[in-house]
Symmetry: C3
Subunit: 268 residues, 3 copies
Amino acid sequence: MFDLAGKTAENIKKIRENKPLIHNITNFVVMNYTANVLLAMGASPVMAHAENEVEEMVAFAGSLVLNIGTLTDQWVDAMVLAGKKATTLGKPIILDPVGSGATAMRTAAAKRILAETKVSVVRGNASEILSLGVEGAGGRGVDALHAVDDAGVVAKQLAQDLRTTLAITGPVDLVTDGARVVRVEGGHNLMPLVTGTGCSATATIGAFLAVDPDAFSAAATGLAFFGIAGEQAGAVSSGPGTFMINLLDALHSLSPEEVARRCRFSVA
Amino acid sequence: MFDLAGKTAENIKKIRENKPLIHNITNFVVMNYTANVLLAMGASPVMAHAENEVEEMVAFAGSLVLNIGTLTDQWVDAMVLAGKKATTLGKPIILDPVGSGATAMRTAAAKRILAETKVSVVRGNASEILSLGVEGAGGRGVDALHAVDDAGVVAKQLAQDLRTTLAITGPVDLVTDGARVVRVEGGHNLMPLVTGTGCSATATIGAFLAVDPDAFSAAATGLAFFGIAGEQAGAVSSGPGTFMINLLDALHSLSPEEVARRCRFSVA
Amino acid sequence: MFDLAGKTAENIKKIRENKPLIHNITNFVVMNYTANVLLAMGASPVMAHAENEVEEMVAFAGSLVLNIGTLTDQWVDAMVLAGKKATTLGKPIILDPVGSGATAMRTAAAKRILAETKVSVVRGNASEILSLGVEGAGGRGVDALHAVDDAGVVAKQLAQDLRTTLAITGPVDLVTDGARVVRVEGGHNLMPLVTGTGCSATATIGAFLAVDPDAFSAAATGLAFFGIAGEQAGAVSSGPGTFMINLLDALHSLSPEEVARRCRFSVA
């Protein structure tokens, strides 16, 4: 495997220098926090979901983040419209299939986006990712019903089937493009107690996709950075509230060199 | 009156052990904070408002939280749909009639939800609660136009009329199911300076309803817990910003035993 | 120029005493933070966007804040409806043309609101403001493509053309009603790294408009207050997360006298 630690530092530097515009069509719960996460790391977020402007907006963007939490049919239509335009323009797309597997509507929305647009990365927990390929995997909202270990067995095949890169997050994250597989350590046990940390990991990969043409590398290095920031924040927080705030500070203050020194990749 | 302090501790323990899924259809302003409040105390929030998934989602949930802030007709339709399903399934519903009495639309929406679904608890300020029963009580947004003392006189009768439990919050909270009445002390004067603290008190009761079949007890103990957390946060905060964050930490770190020791109930 | 420092103190006092209701129709990303900013300074925010209640709601309000971030046609219709009612009732309106110039839809929406309602103040960055009058000024989301210095040259004429007061924010803010021009210093370099600080500056002016009938003075003193609060917060923050929180504390704790002592106005 090539030098993912060095690549992590390089990507962080590029984001801070280039301030790529990241177009998000995401859910109401996390819009504010996702925007703050992207700003903190140096990217430029924009949120826009109207069908009469998404195509124009995505043309300015370095990448497109699609997140199906709090979805309605109208929002899915807007996501597909923006996604088709991004596909035509060759802009990378990352999909967060929030709650896929939990309700029929969410599973159908995630599968529709995968079918109608070219998705570079899907970021979800094991349950959500598994719902995209395996019949009857089921789910219960955004909870992880399956451990990352179980998911690892089928992830590589599923990435091949879906022709995309999968970023499966949990206590240890797993990234695969169907050929390469890497595990990424990091994070903190307060992370799942703050809403939108998963969605923010997705947006972080979105920012990395805007500066790194290799989706596998963008996903792995983005998760590494986000995980190290989580560790940093967790070390100085007294609960989920202070963690949420300190995570933004960490994303802003961590130097590329320190992240490279601390990140932990391993071949799966 | 039975041991409400002990019941408070018991309910907190159950929430942290069972992590009940709380289905929220709530307003845009407070979605993020409400989700974080529920996560901090140990519950599992999900926000979903699409008419084609709310019935499926509520079937997984331990309770349903309906909040009419930033409402539109479409959202009220979704609330009623989810509420009818919850009623059929015997899942407890809590209604937060944000701004009822202030505009005709809000009052009508609150009354419609009460008429078409079985609401276990209504949580609001005195003005909002009074608007549900008394003609011409009026209101001005979410401000409390009436002191809790005035409301106490009519609350018991109103609870009987509406066949629900009322949780009227203010400097001192009042809970009644039409038969029993209790006052709950707690909170902090920074609380009204953070948007969504009222809505979060509602969501907290929602979590308590998921583990406590007695709506009166769930409402009183939920408000006691939320108030003690507010006191704890207020003691270490320098303004509304830090209070907002410290409240999340307090909800996470307070032990059931300490809450039981500190909560203050009194017969009204 | 009259005593703007003294006027700043006077306006802050009036907001804290009168707690004016500020009706916001704003974007999903900043709703929560905007509401908290207004509460922290002593105002009473309400968010309401349904076409069947905005006219009733605005009648209670001291001012109306219209913000076109995350807009759709339906939201623009609601803004125009509320704005027309506010115009009829003589309530001041402030417009935040988020992203105007970036997409055709946003530029059209901002221009429509300006044409169909009486807007007292427009608050935006130079790029957004310039897009309202100059053909082909263009833009890229909410980024400032033009320095405030460039904008100053044309601002006075544009204010005359649009018959409104312009509040152009950047490293140094510029306010003009077409006759008077003033520059306002303040703020902190962490401010642009928190989403919604621009929108919150708009809402702050909205609160000042509710207590100050002179739109030029309301805009200049509102920006001065917000900028001093930013300086105060920046001095005690370690990154954008803590800054976001400390800004709320500063808006709450700064005395009118201290703000008057620290604010820096200069004739442009």
